[in-house]
Amino acid sequence: MDTQHDCANCPAYNKANLIKLGLNLDNIDYVIALAGNPNTGKSTVFNNLTGLHQHTGNWPGKTVSRAEGGYSYDEKRYKVVDLPGTYSLLSTSTDEEVARDFILFGQPDVTVIVVDATRIERNLNLVLQILELTKRAVLCLNLMDEAERNHLEIDVRGLSKELGVPVIPCVARKMEGIPELLQAIKEVADGEFICRPPQIKSHSKKLNHAIASLSEKLLDSYPGLPNAKWVAMRLLEGDNSIIEAVRSGELGNLNEIQPGVQA
């Protein structure tokens, strides 16, 4: 890690300098959502980026509503929204709804998914669900020090290939990996990096067919809808809030407020 500290001291390394904006959210270029399982360190990442002091605690469920803050990096201004930690986006508790609605209706430019490096398999369940919702994501592989302590060897490049999004190993409590994370967020936000998340298919052909035909119908009515497949799945599930969004036409507004480059 010593080499990294040396690099971090070099002015060339920091030329794109992070400026913490705190609560100053004027003239925002990009909106960043912070999502992830409970107790993975989302609020710590949030504090590192924004310079705010959102309360952190070592227990799942600390953040129940969303907090907002800002930072500026490489001459662009970012707004960060810290979402409640959830294990999935499929059930309907209030905290999960807050997280899901923001990723779906708030249409963040980049969703940063904070993952506990010591519990990758369980965390991936949420990651895959989020990648159904949005294609533009960065995986922040946090708590790498604990993974090392636990003798876990993680193939970061392989993980990035499998998920089709940048994967950045971090130790947020010690600010390690934050510069790389900022760069990755920037590249996804301005379209330099194009994410290609996997398409999950069920084993049931009947289901795959139903989802395909329904997404086609959705795309007919709402061209450019970014997450038609996910909406189709939720409709099949009978998710009331999504049915309501389709009925009221709120869904149709989604593609209009999509700034930046479409992946």
Binding site: P38, N39, H53, H55, T56, G57, N58, W59, P60, G61, V64, S65, P84, L90, S91, T92, S93, I120, E121, R122, L124, N125, L128, E146, R149, N150, H151, L152, E153, D155, V156, G158, L159, E162, R173, I200, K201, S202, H203, S204, K206, L207, A210, S213, L214, K217, L218, S221, A232, M233, L235, L236, E237, I243, V246, R247, S248, G249, L251, G252
Partner: protein, 476 residues
């Protein structure tokens, strides 16, 4: 838009018919495919080198702090330790702040008011009412909060709270409530409004409502000073001075435990009657112990938590101070408004081992529990006509020492019974106005807000009534 609407209905209809065709195991098959994919990716990218030795230390600690026999004693000892540090550490800075804000600054302000010929009622309302109540709240609240919040936050950072939840889970489940209620209850020890908001982590609306209604049984930060002061005066004074601090802390812990008991009992009662249902199961992660970040914790808990709570208290204390001054100084005939209420409610209050002063203090202190004790003192002086103590009628004052406070209360006819009942009533009464507002915001229900408000008062009256009757049985 209307075009969208019909298109929307088409899509919903298509989804409905497809759902019928797919049958009921659709949801499972979808989740299965996600889990399958997650496990495949993690198999390909994560390797375990050697054994998992690193966690064995965590496991050893967990075996002790969550063990069947040691879990609860360790919890109580930690709790007592936190209070003891808070009680003994807060005394000196509190006195210092009081002598600065009240003994020094207050007379200076009064002198200033006289020099600029401020009318007596204006200087009364502003300096004896608003300023003094604010000064009291700062003197009484700031030191304990500045000690209590950081210690509590350090425990939280370390990862102890989920262990508390783990220990309590079984009890809450037996009471028909959600195990996570142990977490919201712990948050309530800091601030009930925060505890009510924290109940969002509970998925089931039934269990969430139970957690919200019972959160008030967690003694909050605004009530700790009352408990500590009364315990020191009436219970600590019964034993030799050497162990008085410990005994007082023990009395406060007892009241806090009583609160946990009521939390469980009321949860049980609700889940057997109006909020019937089975407790839902959940999986609670016990996160690894992490060394707390001491400096950051201090900063966060001091600047964010302490200052925010203190600011709120000050905001509520200022108008309350004005009201206290007014009811004590507006006379109808021979008596002030306060004296009318105290005389009128005294017979009723005595049945519960309280007195009219305490009842009026609690009505005035609905906005913020912190100002109960200063209000009680001021009203006691007023109603017993002790004109030589304090700064005169209608002035909330800090007395020089706890012994001085004791002599005022004894002169006002207070006994050990009054002290015990005040501690009980301080545990069991309506939540403060902020909490009530938060409950309404979270539940969106007038009915449940009213239940959360009045249920604790009812319980408080029942408990103090029985305590009083039992007391008279032995001391009558």
């Amino acid at each position: 838009m209307s075009n969208n609407r019909t298109k929307g209905e088409d899509i919903i209809a298509a989804a409905n018919s497809a759902r019928w065709e797919l049958g009921t195991n659709y949801h499972d098959s979808l989740i299965e495919s996600i889990y399958g994919e997650a496990s495949r990716i993690s198999r390909n990218t994560v390797k375990q080198k050697g054994d998992k030795q690193a966690y064995s230390f965590d496991l050893k600690i967990d075996k002790i702090v969550t063990s069947r026999w040691l879990g609860f004693p360790i919890m109580f000892i930690l709790l007592a330790l936190v209070f003891w540090i808070t009680v003994s550490g807060a005394n000196y800075p509190s006195g210092l702040l009081a002598s600065l804000l009240i003994d020094t600054l207050h007379p200076m302000l009064k002198d200033l008011a006289t020099t600029i010929h401020m009318p007596w009622w204006l200087s009364g309302v502003l300096i004896d009412g608003a300023y003094l109540s604010m000064a009291w709240v700062i003197a009484v609240m700031l030191p304990p909060m500045a000690i209590f919040f950081p210690i509590f936050t350090l425990l939280e950072d370390l990862g102890y709270l989920p262990r508390v939840a783990f220990n309590m889970d079984n009890l809450f489940r037996k009471a028909g409530a959600h195990g996570k209620q142990a977490l919201t209850m712990s948050m309530g020890f800091g601030c009930n409004a925060a505890g009510v908001v924290a109940a969002r982590v509970i998925d089931s609306p039934r269990e969430r409502l139970i957690a919200i209604i019972t959160n008030n049984f967690s003694l909050c930060n605004g009530r700790w000073p009352t408990q500590i002061l009364i315990a020191t005066i009436f219970i600590g004074s019964l034993v030799p001075a050497k162990i008085a601090g410990l005994v007082s802390a023990g009395a406060v812990v007892t009241v806090a435990l009583l609160g946990i008991f009521f939390s469980l009992a009321v949860s049980w009662g609700l889940s057997k009657t109006v909020l019937k249902g089975e407790a839902s199961s959940f999986s609670l992660e016990l996160p690894p112990y992490r060394p707390p970040q001491v400096l950051q914790t201090l900063y966060t808990s001091l600047i964010d938590r302490t200052m925010i709570v203190l600011w709120r208290a000050v905001v509520f204390a200022v108008p309350a101070g004005i009201i206290i001054w007014l009811v004590a100084n507006i006379h109808v005939g021979d008596l002030s408004l306060a004296e009318y209420f105290i005389e009128w409610s005294n017979p009723f209050a005595l049945v519960f081992g309280l007195n009219g002063v305490i009842l009026l203090a609690y009505i005035i202190a609905i906005p913020a529990n912190e100002i109960v004790i200063p209000t009680v003192l001021m009203l006691t002086v007023l109603s017993t006509g002790m004109s030589d103590i304090g700064a005169g009628s209608g002035v909330m004052f800090e007395t020089d020492s706890i012994g001085n406070t004791a002599s005022i209360l004894h002169a006002g006819g207070w006994t050990l019974l009054t002290g015990i009942n005040l501690m009980l009533f301080s545990l069991l009464h309506n939540p403060c106005s902020t909490t009530i507002m938060t409950i309404y915001k979270e539940t969106r229900s007038v009915k449940w807000t009213l239940v959360s408000t009045f249920l604790p008062i009812l319980l408080g009256l029942i408990v103090t009534f029985f305590t009083t009757q039992v007391w008279y049985l032995f001391h009558g």
